[in-house]
């Protein structure tokens, strides 16, 4: 067990370093974009005086290094800061209070929505993909296998918005079963919330299933050629039992890895689906913030995205180690 603990600590330390580097890259990248917050927020109404006033209020006239350091030292103390939009708004109102919540409070409800959507999608997609993968391996090269492959591969090859509109066409317009608008809000009951989330969740399911299913199928088929499977087959074990009891446990490591990768995608890559279904998740907030160059919010979102990748990959590695006795017990 100690070995596992050591790996966790090592990986977490590396993760923190990665986050640090990500934050620098994002900070530089956003600064390299043309225009800044003052120009973006003022738009056509920008006068040099107003731009200068906003820059002064928000400290945008400071050198890059100073601004980055200010932000970093805040984060190290657990303070994600105030979004520029809110800071500018308080300066506008001339008071500190005016509904002024920090970046954390701004992101929290959006992030919770994103996690909800990711959760619902995962509940549908993971069992579906693994189940399809196992069946495809079992009946490999059959009509079922080919049909499953064609269907999942064509859905992963289509752009997300296209899948979304196809689903809307069939499930909302032609057969009005599900709402095309997923505008969930906090005081909504769980049943209504699930109903409103179903269409985006189905769209995302179509996007992520192929990858997981193909990996499950490939990993199992790979093992089916091993001598120990042949042994099992020779002693007369049924094909399904061979797969579930002998092949699957050994194929878990790659499957878990690909699931983790897809779960991370569900958190970080759903912007398009959120826009199509008007789902109030973090992706939309992120895009809005990049548009107006609201660096504190962009940074916070990126940290969350990067952390999701790091943690899910870490989790996947740990689970693969635990699922594999050879890795669990070091020689």
């Amino acid at each position: 067990m100690n070995a596992v603990l050591k790996i966790i600590l090592q990986r977490l330390a590396l993760g923190v370093l990665t986050l640090f580097i990500v934050s620098i890259v994002i900070f530089l990248a956003v600064n390299m974009l043309p225009g800044d917050f003052a120009e973006a927020i003022l738009g056509q109404g920008a006068t040099p005086e107003a731009v200068a006033a906003i820059r002064r209020d928000l400290g945008l006239d400071q050198p890059l290094v100073v601004r980055y350091w200010d932000w970093l030292s805040g984060v190290l103390q657990g303070d994600l800061g105030n979004s520029f939009a809110q800071a500018n708004f308080s300066a506008f109102v001339g008071s500190e209070s005016g509904g002024n919540a920090g970046v954390a409070q701004q992101i929290a409800p959006r992030f919770a929505n994103t996690m909800f959507l990711a959760g619902v999608t995962a509940c549908i997609a993971v069992p579906l993909a693994v189940g399809l993968g196992v069946l495809a391996a079992l009946y490999r090269n059959s009509a079922f296998d080919k049909a499953a492959n064609v269907f999942t591969l064509s859905s992963i090859s289509s752009p997300e918005f296209f899948l979304a509109y196809v689903l809307i066409l069939f499930l909302a317009v032609l057969n009005p079963m599900l709402p095309s608008l997923s505008n969930i809000y906090p005081d909504m009951g769980i049943a209504e919330r699930l109903q409103k989330t179903l269409l985006p969740a189905l769209t995302l399911t179509l996007v992520v299933t192929a990858h997981m299913m193909r990996m499950t199928r490939a990993a199992i088929i790979n093992l089916l050629a091993s001598p120990y499977i042949e042994m099992a087959r020779l002693k007369g074990v049924k094909p399904l039992r061979i797969i579930t009891h002998h092949a699957l446990p050994n194929a878990l490591a790659p499957i878990i890895n690909v699931i983790a990768l897809n779960l991370a995608y569900l958190i970080t890559g759903v912007v398009v689906v959120e826009v199509v279904f008007v789902y109030p998740g973090i992706g939309q907030l992120f895009v809005d913030s990049v548009k107006i160059r609201d660096i504190p919010v962009v940074q916070a979102c990126c940290l969350i995205f990067a952390a999701a990748y790091i943690l899910l990959n870490l989790l996947a590695d740990i689970l693969s180690i635990l699922s594999n006795p050879r890795l669990r017990h070091k020689r």
């Binding site: 003022l42 001339g94 209070s97 095309s180 826009v275 907030l285």
Partner: protein, 517 residues
């Protein structure tokens, strides 16, 4: 007492854009009840109940249109009527204005409305550090005096006959004095709807107050739900699948799908929103009026209306004064596409041909780059070679507009002529995007100042007509077209015969004016 009627307009430009005239008396049909669900573009996660920050349809409709009131209101027919003010009176020089306020009005928290609320609410816009878009309006007031519990007297730095119109600006919301921070945080106004829930950039739900001074005239819905849908396709889908009852800014390209649905109707009005190509009149070659005239003849306006607006607009005559304005010069002779005239004016400028850059980006208006290319093709016949420079949308307003000598731009228009001219055509104004000044036309600048304080409506009309003529002939801004406000709604949503054309969605006052059948 100076009330200026814009009824005359109805018989002209505005009426052409008003659809579905039933001829029945409208109030007879309106009835209370129902929940209106609207999908609106123009929402941001930084939205709040602070009127100083309002700039797009979602918050204008929720702020001035539902939760708050202003002193005056632009009626759908273009006339001005009192909202929280009942009547007003000017001194002969239009410098001192006395407003009588409505009595017996209460805020949603029970506080009664009076003169202190007006003064404190207006002062917000000139507070230290305030960046209110209405700051120029309020800073023109040198003194605000409470002359009674329900009377306020404003003294202006210079006479302004349009002052009551300015008080209908959607930024100038009335908050309860002494509780303004709370009112901004929670949305406490005197409007017909009080806030039930509000998530910035996502959703607003309002419920009808029990009794209101507009009872019987407006405010028919029991409940409102505004849903922020910034994506055009999602908005169209939401209406098609009956998730919402009405939407703003429809997508012209898929308009036929809406038209094919018998449950949906489309409503459009031509207002003052206009798309422009400003030239800097202090930069060569645009400092030569003949070059500007050549360009005015080199653009095919009707083609732009047909291809860029897909017919949802009307050709314009290089002035920013449109059908929603009081002194719109409707019968002024229209500039037409005429390559020979363009060549003639080039020759007058001493040129055989002209090579110029035109900077454009779709940040200026939807289809601006296409419009520039159409302009390029039509101008070629007149000996003008336009090189279209496609600029990045990011930073367009800071790096291109007002900086590049010839570019694409847009204006949403203003309720009054003076307001529009002093924003974009007065010498020295920060947004004077053609650098138009007394060197170009001293007459124009003189008329601008003279007309501002003129209380006689006939004299003003003459002056504003002359100014429109000057802009058409010599002006530095090419205004090829007015773009309609187009919205779509379920047929169960009823609207009055006349729809406001100052801003989208019945001047963003649909929550008060529309009803469920």
């Amino acid at each position: 007492m100076t009330r200026i009627s814009r009824r005359g307009l109805l018989t002209t430009g505005a009426a052409a854009g008003v659809l579905a005239a039933s001829g029945l008396p409208l109030r007879a049909q309106a009835k209370r009840g129902g929940r209106l669900r609207v999908g609106l573009a123009g929402a941001n996660s930084s939205d709040s109940w602070d009127g100083r920050t309002h700039s797009d349809t979602f918050m204008i409709s929720a702020g001035q249109g539902a939760v708050f009131d202003t002193l005056t209101e632009n009626a759908a027919d273009g006339s001005l009527r009192g909202e929280l003010a009942t009547d007003w009176e000017a001194s002969p020089d239009a410098k001192t204005w006395t407003f009588n306020l409505r009595q017996g009005v209460t805020f949603h928290n029970g506080k009664s409305f009076g003169a202190d609320d007006v003064i404190e609410s207006l002062q917000l816009h000139v507070a230290e550090g305030s960046k209110s878009a209405a700051q120029p309006i309020v800073s023109s007031i040198t003194e605000m005096k409470k002359t009674g519990d329900h009377q306020v007297q404003f003294t202006l730095a210079e006479g302004n006959a349009d002052f009551p119109y300015l008080m209908s600006d959607y930024h100038l919301l009335m908050y309860p004095a002494g509780q303004i921070e709370e009112a901004i945080a929670n949305g406490i106004g005197t409007g017909m709807y009080k806030v039930q829930s509000f998530e910035p950039g996502v959703r607003f739900v309002g419920t009808r107050v029990d009794s209101h001074y507009k009872d019987g005239e407006a405010g028919w819905f029991d409940e409102l739900e505004f849903i922020a849908i910034n994506d055009t396709t999602a908005r169209m889908n939401a209406l098609m699948t009956n998730q919402v009852d009405a939407i703003n800014r429809i997508d012209f390209k898929t308009e036929s799908l809406l038209k094919a649905n018998p449950q949906i109707r489309i409503q459009e009005v031509t207002g003052n929103q206009h798309y422009t190509f400003p030239m800097l009149t202090n930069v060569a070659p645009f400092n030569d009026v003949n070059v500007r005239r050549a360009l005015k003849y080199g653009i095919n306006r009707q083609e732009l209306v047909d291809k860029i607006l897909l017919g949802h607009g009307q050709v314009a005559n290089d002035t920013p004064i449109g059908p929603a304005n009081q002194y719109y010069f409707e019968n002024m002779e229209q500039l037409a596409y005429d390559p020979d005239q363009a060549k003639y004016h080039l020759k007058q400028a001493g040129l055989d041909s002209l090579d110029i850059d035109l900077s454009a980006s779709n940040a200026a208006f939807a289809g601006a780059v296409d419009a520039a290319q159409l302009f390029q093709a039509s101008a070629k016949a007149g000996g003008i070679n336009i090189n279209v420079v496609q600029e990045p949308a990011d930073g367009y307003w800071s790096n291109v507009w007002l900086k590049k000598p010839f570019c694409a731009s847009y204006w949403s228009g203003r309720a009054t002529e003076d307001w529009m001219f002093s924003s974009a055509y007065e010498a020295g104004a920060p947004w004077n995007d053609s650098q138009w000044d007394a060197d170009d036309s001293a007459r124009f600048q003189n008329l601008l100042i003279e007309a501002r304080a003129e209380l006689d409506s006939d004299k003003r009309r003459e002056m504003y007509h002359e100014m429109q003529q000057i802009l058409r002939d010599d002006g530095g801004v090419l205004v090829p077209m007015f773009a309609n406000f187009v919205e779509a709604m379920n047929t169960k949503v009823q609207t009055p015969d006349v729809i406001g054309n100052l801003w989208q969605m019945d001047n963003s006052r649909f929550a008060e004016r529309w009803w469920m059948s």
